[in-house]
Amino acid sequence: DTAVSQTPKYLVTQMGNDKSIKCEQNLGHDTMYWYKQDSKKFLKIMFSYNNKELIINETVPNRFSPKSPDKAHLNLHINSLELGDSAVYFCASSPTTGAAQHFGDGTRLSIL
């Protein structure tokens, strides 16, 4: 009965590869987010979707492309991975007008 689930939990890959992270929420929320947490624990928003529509797109390299097939799913595809992409990526969701965001347990991405 996990509310926000991400897969995979760990992702180890080489520089230059392309990878995807999947996220699903069963809370019935309209809004979903992707955050990046660096090695110093700093959390920064990357993207936000509301009802499959992109509403927040922070200054993120265009190698990162979110895709929302429906309002319960928000996937993150990353092209040409770089060393600096190593981080923990969190998916979150919230009601449209509510600020309480529910986070998944993260995907730890390690670039070799």
């Binding site: 624990k41 959390l43 928003i45 509301n50 919230s94 449209t96 600020a99 309480a100 529910h102 347990d105």
Partner: protein, 115 residues
């Protein structure tokens, strides 16, 4: 762009003591100030939140104090327990429009409660 400054970066407190974490924000067009708790290997979880029409909110051992004129809010953990050892984040929302909320997080405070 909202900035949220959080202090201290880390905190060690004895069991039964009080942990105090402070945050300061810049912009005032917000109506919701949440605190998140994060355990190792887990995502942040909403702990407690306050709206600026009140100066204090208490939930169990956790209390938020809000000072609107100073643009500051703080988290107090009373009777701290080893199970409270975690990283705590304050946040302030910045909504460019009515759809969803963009949260700007403070830098986090790592709290260690010694038995």
């Amino acid at each position: 762009q909202q900035q949220v400054k959080q202090s201290p970066q880390s905190l060690i407190v004895q069991k039964g003591g009080i942990s105090i974490i402070n945050c300061a924000y810049e912009n005032t067009a917000f109506d919701y100030f949440p605190w998140y708790q994060q355990f190792p290997g887990k995502g942040p979880a909403l702990l407690i939140a306050i709206r600026p029409d009140v100066s204090e909110k208490k939930e169990g051992r956790f209390t938020i104090s809000f000072n609107k004129s100073a643009k500051q809010f703080s988290l107090h953990i009373m009777d701290s327990q080893p199970g409270d050892s975690a990283t705590y984040f304050c946040a302030a929302p910045y909504s460019p429009d009515s759809a969803g909320n963009k949260l700007t997080f403070g830098g986090g405070t790592r709290v260690l409660v010694k038995p």
